[in-house]
Amino acid sequence: MATLVQAERVKVTVKELKGKVDPDWCLGCGDFGVLAALKQAIVEAGLEPHKILTISGIGCSSNLPGYLNTYGMHTLHGRALAVATGAQLANHDLKIVVTGGDGDGYGIGGNHFVHAMRRNVDLTYIVMNNQIYGLTTGQLSPTSIKGMNTKSTPFGSVENPINPIPLAIAAGASYVARGFTGQQRQLVELIKGGLQHRGFALIDTFSPCVTYNHDNTHEFFKQKTRKLEDMGHDPTDLHGALEKGWMWGDVIPIGLFWRRENLPALDQLEPILGEGGPLAHRPLGVAADTAQALIKELM
């Protein structure tokens, strides 16, 4: 009977995915769109909330786990991917979703970003990229465009921004996409694709900051973004993916840049995870004969 009940399990609804409190984001913040798309993607992917662990760092967008009814961890600034890697390896039955902002992921967390992709950790990483530091009230971010005036660059930034798409492809991420909160249906599909992908999935998402970024606004992206599927892009074409990823100007592509299905995720490469279920639930203790063997090494 138990298995029957499980099989007939009712799909979770968007309403049931609402967290304990409402978001405290500014009215019009792009992050509302990411939260809505994530909920819809979870519903459409048929995931159970208690099997999802949503992990974030610090920043406006990193408050997201509190607004979502799954297991959640609101970790330190920049550290979400490191925590997520540990959690995924320790319990590979969990679906790991990581959320955060551009400063959190590409700035202070840049080292973990590169290495989590190199390892192809099985998780879905949604970066709410607003090209500004919002929660600290408007300083330059790693993705702020050159020349941008912010509180920390009052005379315009002289630095080049980071471009997460080619960086992710080069580092080894096996699913690399860019969404825009103004294209909800596409964003849901991109996130759902990430949730269903086995390996590291990056969904860099333009999520405009209505308070501190007056350059890269909703209107800005509405005019410049163009869907990759309308550009005839093949996400298994590496050169095409890098070429489209470099584009920034009158046309900014959004969609799935790159997908590699034949690359095993880190947990699939670890022999100790081959059988026995998640590490987190394995019994503790060392068998007597193993203990004897360990001691014998010392004699």
Partner: protein, 595 residues
Amino acid sequence: MRRIDLAIGIGGAAGQGIATPGDILARIFVRRGLHVNAYNAYQSIIRGGHIFLTLRTSDQPVLSQGDKFDVLVPLNQDTMNRHLRLMRAGSAVLFNSDAIKPGGVPDGVQLCPFSVKALAPTIKGDLVQNTIALAAILRLVKVEFKILEEILAIQFRRRGAAAVADNVGVARAGYEYAATHFTEFPFALPDLGKRLAFFEGNQALAMGGAAAGVRFYCAYPMSPASGVLHWMSRHARQLGIMVRQVEDEIAVINMAIGAAHTGCRAMCATSGGGFALMSEALGAAAMMEIPVVCINVQRAGPATGVPTKTEQGDLWQMLGAGQGDYPRIIVAPTNIVDCFKLVPKVFNLVDKFQCPGIILSDLLLSEGRSSIDPTELDFNVPIDRGELIGLNGNGGPSNGSFKRYLLTESGISPRALPGTPGYLHVVATDEHNEDGVLISDEFTDPHKRQAIHEKRMRKMDGVLPLLPPPELHGAADAQVTLLGWGSTEGVIREAIEQLADAGIVANNLQIRWLVPLHADAILSILSKCQQVVVVENNYSGQFARYLRSETGFAAAGHIRKYDGEPFMPHHIVDGINAILAGSTKLYVPVHEIQV
């Protein structure tokens, strides 16, 4: 009384193969039931420099590297120049006379030159002199050749039968040459008929983790903590432990926290510099109330410092690691066996109290090696996971209103593992209320903040009664009490033996559990002591200052060493003599051996 007390010094440049004869001798000694202590003084260099291994054996437990050498094996001229002058009457110096010349020989020291060219004319390589010296030493203490033959067969097995035959042949030549040319020692190395084991502190820490049920271990390589990583990596598949080398120590501790949150027992190890990078995340573990264990193997700081030298200089870093007040448990093992035994205890505590635990080792303990009675290595340890919901996927009934940070009298709130139906919650490094909702942003509430902060902190009240209070070792009415913490226990106790020989009655109070500290018990003991001298391996008297801050007790005298090398017993004896004579309150010994 010690019937046997034999100390062997083997020195040379990095790359001259000092470890192998050291290992072979140690193996032979413990197979005879003899106790061993080994300490390797080395530098941060792969080739060259000066490495000096002290291997001391006795029929009684060996507490420290000791003060003297009975045998010196200089593998190069530099070692001969540095150490010959410190040799005492009755000792022997074995060396390859083809390449090394003695200088001024102290009275009564037996020079034992041998010619590698003459004894092993056909065998190439620099390591031949090691094997000859090794065999000659064993001849001097009357160990039968077949014992060495057996060990060489094991040691060189992987290099093939020819290598074994070569080494045995060379060893036999050395053994026979010693029999006819050198004067043997006035004793024979006994066989006590019981086998002991031999391990280093880092192995002990790693094995303690295995016994505790560690399922996740990650690290960034850093001397002198890498030995834990090496042991864990070698045994990962055998024991089902996820072992990862990751990009930096910030990732290390955060990964361990992520793994621990899902229910794994997670551990990591580093040295002071790596620990500094972990500081913020230790606070995060405490804030999210996730149990994790971090080992800090101290080396001489600050900054990169002296990577291959020992110090007890990180105490205040441990006490103050990270911003804000948070519950933490800190323990400093006092010997190598303690390294093994404490790890499961710390895991039980951090699981129960859902906070970070720090094990404070140092290079002396972690890279020092000691014999141990194998029956003491009990892997069948008590395991207490604390109030944990959802282990093995079984969460039990839930009314759907689980409060992860439920305010309780003990401060301990039941912890539910991700994956458990009915217990959904968010853990946060931001301040939060009972159900995990943030109070740091929009609805900051001073009353809620106070309540949840007090809940976290009062968990510490429950820890102290579970920790054994320290006890005085030695005569209660001693004229001087040597107060130490962590790794100095052995050398302090050996110094006490030497003081007793000189008619000075001393005892020892050694502190193992540092946070929480049994301040009342310690003050009660110290207030009855005649004179208290704090012995520690740092410049500023970190423990003496901590003790004063927790108890108001100010010690009468201090012996401190911060040159990178561990104390030798006579350093402490000299210090006690100087302090008792009233000539100083702070004694800083000079390390005579230049390594």
